[in-house]
Structure formats: structure tokens, C-alpha cells
């Protein structure tokens, strides 16, 4: 046996999606901030290298032979501290000068590589860890000669890597903290509407156990369709229960009187005549019918699910074909026709109308169904029952709708059936009308509004 799995709770689903959204958003933010930070670090480094180059240039002396002398104290003290991370150098074709910081460091700049007037920035990459800025220029000596000079400054890329690593650590720590705060805040926000649903469930439980009789109206606007419909349903049910109680009470009461009469006659030792007894029994029977009829008339129907009409019609007609084997029953009901009508009511309306038609008709009865007064997804029903009997005029039909009236002694109980139908039609706010049938007899048209 396969066990149907319970769908995961709302809280679980919502928390899962909240966490996913927060992680994705913060992850993207982290990556872009990291990129921006690196770009700005690199551009700061380049500026630093350029200013180092110009600081070196300020103290530069080159003589006519191309030998380099450096006069000024380095503006940047990092250039004087060995292995400080910032390095500089001056090359001519004949000579070179390296900043004191290069002492013991294996510099990647071997020789002049750059033409006069050009400059180049080289970033660290997988092949080498240095950021280098080179500037090529022509130096006019005292003798008026122009000598090619290349000045460079370099910085070890590991410094930037360290800065990046420390920044990244900080960044993700803070983003993690933010994620935690956001997720907790989201869950707190989710919890509130779920709490409202729990409250509704609690109130429904209270209604079930009789501690309250309706849902309080204190719910957010979005939930009011739910709570109002629930309240309407409860009200209908209560009204129906009350109605049944009242109907039962009325019925019992109306039977007690004739029973009391019979009892008193028995007590008095009277012989009760057959005719008299039969009349009393007839009265009791009529009371039972009229009370039940009244109960059916006033029962309220709410939010009925759609019913596929054709199979219900088929069942009634199958029954009637058995009861009236000589009558031809024809049905026109689209297979797709659905109506928000209770099956019990449809069976009752159809059974009574078709049976009347079968009693009055000569050879054939025709029932036609279509949709009527549909609103939105709720659909009503129109049905027309035709016979080829003698027909009936509108006044007589109206009289027969009155309870207990009979159209003809030949077909007993016609009026009662019609008045039951009318009761049901009223409860659907529908209409019942006599018309002339194309078959020559009576057509009864009934419309039921969706319930």
C-alpha cells in the first residue's frame, strides 16, 4: 500500500524559500563588492607606484656618460627600508640605480625595456607577483646631451592579496551576520500570518466543541472571504438544523391530535367506524406529506459543488422506463452540462415532472436540459419536460401548484408532485412555468439558479 505523504508545512516551505532568497541576494552583493574593492585597490596601487616614480625622479642625476647618481633622500621612506614591499630603480644604458629597499630582493626588472616618452603598468598575475610601473624618458645632461633613462617602481602583489583576504574575511563575516538577521526577521514576519491561520483553526475547533457559534470578524481583509464563507456555511447549517427540529416538532404535533381522538374513542369503548378511521388515517397521511414538503421548501442550500447532469437524468429515466414500459422517454442533455445543484433535489424535480408527464402523456415524454443564469464558475440549470397529453391551462396549473390539489383523479397525486417541485424551485430562487409543448401537450419549464 502506498502511503500518501503529507505535504510539507507552510512554515517549512516559506522558511526554505526565505533562506534561499537571502543567501542568493547576499552572495551576489558579496561578489560585486569584492570586485569593486579589488578594482579600487589596484587603481590606488597604480597611483602609489606613479608617485613613487616621480619621487625618485626628483632626486635623479645623470651625467654625460650615462652613469646614474641619486641625490635626494627618498621621499618615501618605504624605498629606504629593505624588503619594505615598495621598490624603485633607475636604468640607463650604462648604469643603474636601485632603491635601498631592493636589498636582498630578487627584482624582476632586469634591463631597460621601454622607449623614451612611453610608460607601462603591469599588474601581478599568475606568472609573476609584481605590480610594476615603468616610465621611459630622455634626460638632458649639463652638456646638452639627451640620455635614455627608465624609472620604475614596483610593489609585491602579495600585499594586495593580503589586503584582499582581510577585506574578504570582514565582508563575508558581516554578510553572514546580515543573512542571519534577515532570515530571522523573515521568519518572524511569516509567523504572524500563520498565527492568524492557527487562530482560525482554533476558533473552528471551538465551534465544533460548541464553545462559540461563529468566527470572530477580527481578521485581515485578505482572509475575510474565507471567514465570511465559513460563517455563512455555519449559519446555513444552524438554520437547517433548526428547521428540521421545527418541522419534526410540527409533524409530531399535527399527528398527536388525531391520535388523541382515536385514543379517546378507544377509552370510551366506542366502536370506530371504518369510514371514520379511514378519514383520520387520510388526514394523518396528508399532514405528514405537507410537513415534509414544507421542510424541503425552506431548507437552505449553500455552496453546492457542480454536478454533471446527464448521468443523474439517465438514472431517473431508467427508473421511469421500468415504471412506464409503454412510454417513450427522450432526453436531450449535453454530456458536459454541469450545474451547482444538489443531486437529491435534481432527482426529486426530475422524477416528479417526468412521472407527471408519463401519467398524462399518450406515447412520449421529452426532457431538454441546458445551462441557465450562470455567474462566474457557478452554473444554474434550465429543464423543460414535454408530453403529448391533453395539456393544461395556466390557471389550472397555478391551482395545481397549491399543495395537495390534484389535477385529475385519473392520475392521482399530480398536484402533490408539482408542489414538491415548486418548493425545491423556490429554494433555488428559480421559476416554474407551464407552456404549450411542441409535442402538443404540456411543457413545464423549470429554472434553477446556482446555489
Amino acid at each position: 500500500m502506498t502511503k500518501s505523504r503529507k505535504p510539507p508545512s507552510l512554515l517549512f516551505r516559506l522558511s526554505l524559500s526565505a533562506v534561499a532568497v537571502v543567501l542568493l541576494a547576499l552572495g551576489l552583493i558579496g561578489l560585486s563588492v569584492e570586485r569593486a574593492f579589488r578594482a579600487s585597490e589596484e587603481s590606488a596601487l597604480r597611483e602609489r607606484l606613479e608617485s613613487a616614480v616621480f619621487a625618485v625622479l626628483a632626486g635623479l642625476e645623470v651625467d654625460a656618460t650615462g652613469s646614474v647618481a641619486w641625490a635626494g633622500a627618498p621621499a618615501d621612506s618605504l624605498l629606504t627600508r629593505p624588503a619594505s614591499g615598495l621598490y624603485a630603480g633607475i636604468y640607463t644604458r650604462e648604469d643603474r640605480w636601485l632603491s635601498p629597499s631592493t636589498l636582498g630582493v630578487d627584482m624582476p626588472v632586469e634591463k631597460m625595456t621601454i622607449a623614451r616618452g612611453a610608460d607601462r603598468f603591469q599588474a601581478a598575475d599568475a606568472g609573476q607577483p609584481w605590480f610594476i610601473y615603468r616610465l621611459g624618458l630622455g634626460w638632458e645632461t649639463e652638456s646638452g646631451e639627451i640620455v635614455d633613462v627608465e624609472v620604475w617602481a614596483a610593489e609585491d602583489g602579495t600585499r594586495l592579496d593580503q589586503a584582499m583576504a582581510s577585506f574578504r574575511g570582514d565582508l563575508w563575516r558581516w554578510l553572514g551576520l546580515a543573512a542571519l538577521v534577515l532570515v530571522v526577521a523573515q521568519l518572524a514576519l511569516l509567523f504572524q500570518p500563520l498565527q492568524i491561520l492557527r487562530r482560525i483553526a482554533g476558533e473552528v475547533r471551538d465551534i465544533e466543541s460548541g464553545r462559540r457559534d461563529h468566527l470572530s470578524g477580527l481578521y485581515p481583509r485578505e482572509l475575510s472571504p474565507l471567514t465570511e464563507n465559513l460563517n455563512a456555511l455555519l449559519k446555513t447549517e444552524r438554520a437547517n438544523v433548526e428547521q428540521y427540529h421545527r418541522a419534526l416538532g410540527d409533524l409530531a404535533h399535527s399527528l398527536k391530535t388525531p391520535l388523541a381522538v382515536i385514543n379517546s374513542q378507544l377509552d370510551a369503548g366506542e366502536r370506530i367506524g371504518v369510514a371514520e378511521l379511514r378519514e383520520t388515517v387520510g388526514q394523518m397521511q396528508a399532514r405528514i406529506r405537507s410537513e415534509l414538503d414544507r421542510a424541503a421548501r425552506s431548507g437552505r442550500r449553500t455552496m453546492l459543488p457542480p454536478l454533471t447532469v446527464a448521468p443523474v437524468v439517465e438514472r431517473v429515466v431508467r427508473t421511469l422506463r421500468k415504471l412506464y414500459p409503454d412510454m417513450e422517454f427522450k432526453v436531450s442533455a449535453p454530456a458536459s452540462l454541469r450545474a451547482n445543484v444538489a443531486e437529491r433535489d435534481l432527482l426529486e424535480v426530475l422524477g416528479n415532472l417526468l412521472e407527471n408527464a408519463a401519467k398524462y402523456g399518450r406515447n412520449q415524454v421529452h426532457a431538454i436540459f441546458d445551462a441557465h443564469s450562470s455567474s462566474g464558475r457557478r452554473s444554474g440549470l434550465r429543464l423543460r419536460v414535454d408530453d403529448d397529453g391533453p395539456g393544461i391551462n395556466a390557471e389550472r396549473f397555478a391551482e395545481m401548484l397549491q399543495r395537495g390539489m390534484r389535477g385529475d383523479e385519473r392520475a392521482e397525486g399530480q398536484g402533490l408532485g408539482l408542489s414538491i417541485v415548486q418548493g425545491i424551485v423556490e429554494s433555488y430562487h428559480g421559476e416554474i412555468r407551464p407552456q404549450v409543448s411542441p409535442l402538443g401537450g404540456l411543457r413545464v419549464e423549470v429554472t434553477l439558479k446556482p446555489s
Binding site: 397521511q285 431508467r318 415504471l323 443531486e343 432527482l347
Partner: protein, 225 residues
Amino acid sequence: MRILMLEDETTLRENLTDRLRAEGFVVDAVGDGIEGAYFATEYPIDLAIVDLGLPGKSGLEVVKELRRAEKRYPVLILTARDHWQDKVEALDSGADDYLTKPFRTEELIARVHALLRRAGGHASSALEFGPLKINLSSRKVSLDDEPLELTRFEYKLLEYFVLHPDQVLSKILLNEHLYEDDADPESNVIEVILGRLRKKLDPDGDWKPIQTLRGQGYRFSPERQ
């Protein structure tokens, strides 16, 4: 005609049984569903009258059961419920007609006759076979438009033949369907009554509506005009 009367309310069952017997039917009267289902499937029943609210097994179940056992005789349902939903359910289960309590006994008798007539394939209760006319409702028989006086047993036998035309009916079968208690299979009561009936239907001996098939039984197959 053998009728199964399945009703748990004692007074009603006894009254109806008496009335049906007075009409010339053989009646098996039973008050609970389990015994009723046994009768319905094991006895040579011609029609069953079944109350829906039975102890032991509901009337609907009994009807379904006898239809499952391929019993084709008509079934009349008795019930106090008169909504169409109940009627449709009852007839869907295999019943043929439906009578709502309270009802007049005359109504029940009329329905029983109508169901038997329909089961015999007759649309009307006034039947004609050559010179013979039978009205199954009024139980009047005439030959060549002269009223024919039949005894109660003679009429019962004729009615059974008329409702099973062109069928070979054995002596045992006729005994079972027409006599209350299991008659002695060796008894020649049927033969005696049949002999008298034949003489009344065919005084001149030139029509022969009921034939004897040696070793098998009898067959009612009159030439219809």
C-alpha cells in the same frame, strides 16, 4: 402463482398475506432479510414483495442478491421513503416497481397483477386467445363471448398457463407454483383439474389450447386470431 412476502411488520405481513391468499396466490411470508434472501433464491417464486427496512439484511440487498442469482421474476418494493432518490436507488438495485407506505391493499393487488402480466409479456390485462378471452384484473373468462365459469383452482391453472405461454410446464413445477405446501409429486390433482379445464375450454375437442408433451409436461400455445 407463488409470491414471496418479505415484510417485518407482523400485522401488515399477516394482513397482506391473507389478502393475497384470498386472491388465489400461494404466499411464502417471511419477516427477516436473511431468511428472505434464502426463499428468494431457492424457492420457485413468481413475484416478490420486499420491504426495504428488514432486520438481518436490507431489502435492497435481498433484491441485489436475487438478481445476482439470475432470478428474473418481478420485484415490488415497499417503503415509507417517498423521495425520488430512494425510488431510483430501489429500481437501480433491480426492483421493478415501488409502493410507498401507507398504501391501500387494492393498490398493492393491482400492482402485483400488473407486474405478473408484464412479466408474462402482456401489455394489457384483457387477453384474447382465439375464442378465449381472459381479463386478468377482473378475473372474468369467456369463451365465444359466453361467460365461462371456472373454479378457483381451474382459474389459477389457466392464469399460470396464460402468463407462461409457449413454455413447457412440468407437473412438479405447476404443483410448486400453485399449491401452498409441497404437494405429493405422485398426486394426480393437477391432471384432474387440467382435464376439467380442457373440457371447459374446448368442449368440442377441436381446438386443443393445452398440449401434453409426454414425459415433459404441458404447453399452452393456442393459435391466436
